[in-house]
Amino acid sequence: MDKLFNGFLALIACNVFVILFLMLYKILEGARLSLQTYGFSFFWGASWEPFPPTPDMQPSFGVLPLIQGTLVTSAMALLLATPISLGIGLTLSEFSPKRLNFLVSFLVELLAAIPSVIYGLWGIFILIPFLQNHIYPALQATFGFIPLFQESIRGPCVLTGSIVLAVMIIPTISAISRDVFAAVPDSQREAIIALGATRWETARMVMSYARSGVIGAIILGLGRAVGETMAITMVIGNSFNLFNSLFDPSYTLASIIANEFTEASSPPVYISALIEVGLVLFVLNLAINAFAIVIVWQTMKRVKGS
């Protein structure tokens, strides 16, 4: 009976193998037509023409602008979110009294619990008008000499997308960094405090002790940002172009799937191209996460072990 039960458990626990394998296999299969038709030009191309203007032309698909939009918004989101998240992680593990921690952890969890589509709604109707009227003109006036801040200001744009993504990944990075900070042994804190370190200097030591875990947390945040769909779709402007300015609208890998998938019934290569976009996103995300999880795990093990 025990053997039977254990076998049953092991079988069920294998669900992840089946799911991930099938997912990779099926998506590869779905993208095959596009992979064969476009090869590498799919990655370097910058045109998205499912329905060419004249009937004698072939549809063309190249995702460079999507990759640009995805990577730039994600990277900027990390730049904005990392200092804030580390501050929160430190507050929770080092500075704030235990009783306050309960409330603050709950609020940060709520930030993570709010659905993407509601961040998008908030982005469209509240954040964009605010940024467009108050913040962006000031930014342009101050940094207008840099090309990234030139050109006419658009509400839905790269910068707006980055800001919304930043808000959304703050809970991820703060929660993991709090955990790795909290895992730093107290004997390390006492050692530096006894040398006459201030609270801030102690916190810096904690960060340096847990730095690889912090890097893991940041990379996991990146993974989340890259795959984020609805909110960014609603605020980035969905314009298929390589952009020059942070005030330009853009498009991401995930957004184009959300916007076009349900209407892409024909030609067959169109849906296959969209599935290939999904494949790119999948592989990108796998690479990021597979790496980050290992880092976080190893840090936790090392930190707790010593």
């Binding site: 609020l107 930030l111 509601i118 609805m230 996460n289």
Partner: protein
């Protein structure tokens, strides 16, 4: 510099507070009784409600839980009971990988597996959400079981109770609280999902019409109304639906916090 850390916290909480306040203010004015009971009107048309969206969300999440919860719970038991086998390590690792996969990719997968065969349907949506629930339930079940003192388990084993029975009764009973927390949180998480539903249940304006039919969902309704050009009729409805969705999700979160409160004293 310590002060700066608190400032970081406050900066992060501003959007949260702003979202909660704005959604409440803007949402409340759109809500009345018929908002819950009537079908979804076409864009730009006054009247109607979001009844089918609430119904659709509940059905899809419920159906997803029927699959996702047991699979997750048993996987979690496996990971907790067999701490150090190779299979456990790989399985735990892939579980974490799976929980990080973008929901839109899971949407595409569900589309290929289900929609291409039976069409846009509640089943396809539930399939996608179940895949998202499994890793969360697995992880929290594992953690909950690991918190059960080993002495309780040994006491049961020493009484001659077989291992499988000990696990299913004594261990699970003691881990119940943590497991329910995880299950509820995973449900809260998928209740707000939009992207995978877009590719599976498609959206609809009508009441539930069967498991193989397209369906409405709150998140899709919010998205559709937010994209409408009719600012006076449809935008308030988007906020109303957002308020209902937030209340459902916050409700679950507050419940969970209340339920687990004593753990933190």
């Amino acid at each position: 510099m310590v002060l700066l850390s608190y400032v970081a916290l406050i900066i992060a909480l501003i959007p949260l507070m702003n979202i909660l306040i704005e959604t409440t203010i803007r949402g409340v004015s759109a809500i009345n009784l018929s908002f819950f009971t009537e079908q979804i009107p076409p864009l730009g048309q006054a009247g109607g409600g979001v009844g089918p969206a609430i119904q659709g969300t509940l059905i899809v999440v419920g159906l997803a839980s029927l699959v996702g919860v047991p699979v997750g719970v048993f996987s979690g038991i496996f990971l907790a009971e067999f701490r150090n086998t190779k299979l456990t390590y790989v399985s735990r690792y892939l579980n974490d990988v799976l929980s990080g996969i973008p929901s839109i990719v899971i949407g595409i997968f569900s589309w290929i597996i289900i929609v291409t065969i039976i069409g846009w349907s509640v089943i396809a949506g539930a399939f996608a959400l179940a895949i998202m629930m499994i890793p969360i339930v697995t992880r929290t079940t594992e953690e909950a079981i690991l918190l059960v003192p080993i002495t309780i388990k040994e006491a049961a084993l020493a009484l001659g109770i077989p291992r499988w029975k000990t696990t299913l009764t004594i261990v699970l009973r003691n881990a119940k609280k943590g497991m329910i927390t995880g299950i509820l949180l995973s449900m809260a998480r998928v209740t707000g999902e939009t992207a995978p539903l877009l590719l599976t249940i498609l959206g609809s304006r009508f009441w539930f019409g069967g498991f193989t039919e397209p369906s409405a969902a709150l998140s899709l309704t919010i998205f559709n109304f937010s994209q409408s050009p009719y600012s006076t009729v449809d935008w308030p409805r988007a906020w109303g639906a957002a308020l209902v969705l937030i209340l459902m999700i916050l409700g679950i979160n507050v419940m969970v916090r209340y339920y687990t409160r004593e753990k933190y004293g």
